[in-house]
């Protein structure tokens, strides 16, 4: 970002590509229609951190923040945003035109548990949403589904083996 230039606006983009813009300096107010509503970020011992908006408290948490990317839990729903300045947004648009797509998906265990079954083999072609493994955790069988159309490169977990959270389960080449 260019610090010499005056930034008068920020664009905040949701993962579903909705764009919100906020003028700088950032106010504790959000304009809806013709009225400004006060929004406050607060914290106390009873509620922890929360946002106060129109007399209602909403629980909030930062799940992750990395560079300009923020994963926020707001009222139990998680959102991912990237915050861009007018310059970086412009640059992003330029970069995106020549952007290559992701080539490989690595699936990690979402929670600790036991692999009950592996439903695919190395070399198998899979469709998005197709079940790849059954992970039993917390009294439930959870299907690990393919996030993409692709081909299985490697299977790291064996049936009946225990896995920890974030253990590598499977690698898929995106087709």
């Amino acid at each position: 970002m260019n610090h010499k230039l005056r930034i008068n606006k920020l664009y905040t983009l949701s993962s579903e590509n909705r764009k919100f813009s906020f003028p700088l300096p950032l106010k504790n107010k959000i304009r809806i229609g013709k009225r400004d509503y006060v929004v406050q970020l607060k914290a106390d011992d009873k509620y922890g951190t929360y946002i106060l908006w129109k007399n209602r408290k909403y629980p909030v948490e930062i799940v992750r923040s990395r560079q300009n990317k923020y994963e926020i839990l707001f009222n139990d729903i998680s959102y991912t945003f990237t915050v861009e300045t007018p310059f970086s947004l412009q640059r992003m648009k330029v970069l995106n035109t020549g952007k290559g797509k992701i080539e490989k998906e690595s699936l990690k265990a979402p929670m600790p548990g036991k692999i009950i079954d592996v439903l695919v083999r190395e070399g198998s072609n899979v469709l998005r949403g197709e079940p790849l493994m059954i992970l039993e955790a917390m009294k439930m069988q959870n299907e690990i589904q393919s996030p993409v159309n692709g081909q299985i490169i490697r299977v790291h977990a064996k049936p009946n083996s225990n896995v920890m959270k974030d253990d590598m389960l499977i690698e898929i080449k995106v087709i």
Binding site: L26, K27, L41, I51, I62, S65, L73, D76, S78, Y79
Partner: protein, 510 residues
């Protein structure tokens, strides 16, 4: 809950070992206390500071024990704890050993009163093939299916052709939605049969499976049964549990808007008949599937107290745990069928530590902050308080939010208000799902079936402007982290205070 009479003079049970944890342990201990019966809880290394421990009169410390099997599944150990602490009765709660005939038998062999049905009833109803045969013999309506277990793929195909696709393959020893496969075409049958059988072997140490006609989009209706050791059996009306994911219930209500008095009477009578077939005593549940033409089919009987028992307690005013204890004591059931009146409406939401945006995947972790509504139309059964952890060794339940109203409409309205008052921080929860559900037209109409969750494309309720507020928050963080250089003219005096997190983050990196 109804009035507990304090007449402990005739009680045989004087001390109960609670072979369970969490909210159900607390639920049992609360009633035991009203009945002036003392309780023993087991302290484990996994949850040494659990809330349920503070409700027990006595704690057996098992934190030193290092074992592969959790204590609540260790039959010999539990028997020895009962003997060492002088507990003359055991309550298994739900899950763990609650439907283990061998455990019930072991208790009896050791002269410990098992607060539940006979080992014989547990065994017969636990084995789905035997239960099916018993139901057939008693003329209970059932989905068409195989007479017993299926021994090979050819037989499976043959039977499926006879009853017509789709069919469902079920594990004979299964339950809780595990070991089930739906088959829609004959060319899938062979593969599915092998998978189901393998799955059953792994999960229940028993590869036996059987086949039933698969009922498309049914409603899940179950009847609460109470029986004593003198042969009296009654039902306490129904619960509807059609809101499920992965065959596990999320929301239950009593009564069900799908039943009228006539159908309630018919199904109730049949539920009692099934229970009679195994000389059932204690509390139990007979589960049915109800199709769109109001045909109903016996599915299975659960031989334990169920998670969703509170909705029945609210509409009947009967304390089911008290009844279980009295029946285990050999007392005769004082409630007659004609005394049972369903009054008002009750809805239970299971608030679990699950990520609804990731297909209800469990999201264990520490509950940093928890606050539940305390209005008079709300009952909360929980074993979790601020600072408790949802550990991956056990289920993901945080709390059961049980809401009542004079009718369904009022119960839903109250539920909506109660859900907005629940405050949980630390893990993701099923709350967004419920907040969406109570605003859904199909839920209001009562026309939903067990396929309901799959029909919703998004599982979360996002009220107007919530996403914008979240975006504002992300922007605020970005400003604080990146745009603080003096060279940029940002008026921090007017931009409000620094966020509490940023202060936190300075001390404690994310």
């Amino acid at each position: 809950m109804g009035g507990v009479k304090r007449e402990s003079r005739f009680m045989k049970i004087n001390k109960i070992l609670i072979a369970n944890r969490g909210e159900i342990a607390i639920r049992i201990m609360k009633t035991a206390r009203l009945m002036k019966i003392s309780t023993v809880a087991v302290k484990t290394a996994v949850e040494p500071n659990a809330m349920y421990l503070s409700f027990a009169d006595e704690i057996f410390d098992n934190t030193e024990e290092v074992s592969e099997i959790p204590i609540f599944l260790d039959i010999d150990k539990l028997i020895s704890i009962a003997r060492n602490t002088g507990a003359n009765a055991v309550h298994p709660g739900y899950g763990f050993l609650a439907e283990n005939a061998y455990f019930a038998q072991k208790c009896l062999d050791n002269k410990i009163i098992y607060i539940g049905p006979s080992p014989d009833a547990i065994y017969k109803m636990g084995n789905k093939t035997i239960a099916r045969k018993l139901a057939l013999k008693n003329g209970i309506p059932m989905a068409m299916g195989s007479d017993g277990n299926i021994s090979n793929e050819e037989e499976a195909v043959e039977i499926a052709e006879k009853i017509g696709y789709p069919v469902i393959i079920k594990a004979a020893s299964g339950g809780g939605g595990r070991g089930m496969r739906i088959v829609r075409k004959s060319d899938e049958m062979e593969k599915m049969f092998i998978i189901a059988s393998k799955e059953a072997e792994k999960a229940f140490n028993d590869p036996s499976v059987f086949i039933e006609k698969y009922i498309e989009n049914p409603k899940h209706i179950e009847f609460q049964i109470l029986g004593d050791t003198k042969g009296n059996i009654i039902h306490l009306g129904e619960r509807e549990c059609s809101i499920q994911r992965k065959h596990q219930k999320l929301l239950e209500e009593s009564p069900s808007c799908a039943l009228d008095n006539g159908l309630r009477k018919t199904m109730g009578k049949i539920a009692v008949q099934i229970a009679k077939a195994v000389n059932y005593y204690s509390a139990g549940t007979v589960e049915f599937l109800l199709d769109s033409e109001k045909n109903f089919y016996f599915m299975e009987m659960n031989t334990r107290i169920q998670v969703e028992h509170p909705v029945t307690e609210i509409v009947t005013g009967i304390d089911l745990i008290e009844q279980q204890i009295r029946i285990a004591n050999g007392e005769e059931l004082k409630i007659k069928q004609e005394d049972v009146k369903l009054k008002g409406w009750a809805i239970e939401c299971r608030i679990n530590a699950e990520d609804v945006q990731a297909g209800f995947a469990p999201d264990p972790g520490k509950i940093e902050n928890l606050s539940m509504p305390s209005d008079n139309y709300v009952r909360v059964d929980t074993g979790i308080q601020s600072g408790s952890s949802i550990v991956s060794s056990y289920d993901s339940m945080i709390a059961k939010l049980i809401v009542s109203g004079k009718d369904r409409k009022e119960a839903i309205k109250n539920c909506k208000m109660a859900l907005d008052k629940v405050w949980i921080k630390g893990t993701k929860t099923t709350l967004p799902f419920f907040r969406l559900l109570v605003r859904n037209q199909k839920f209001h109409d009562g026309t939903f079936t067990t396929a309901f969750i799959d029909e919703l494309d998004k599982y979360y309720f996002n009220s107007e402007y919530e996403e914008m507020l979240a975006a504002w928050l992300a922007t605020k963080l970005f400003v604080e982290e990146n745009l603080q250089e003096k060279s940029i003219n940002i008026d921090f005096e007017n931009s409000g205070d620094m966020s509490p997190w940023l202060l936190n983050k300075r001390i404690n990196q994310f």
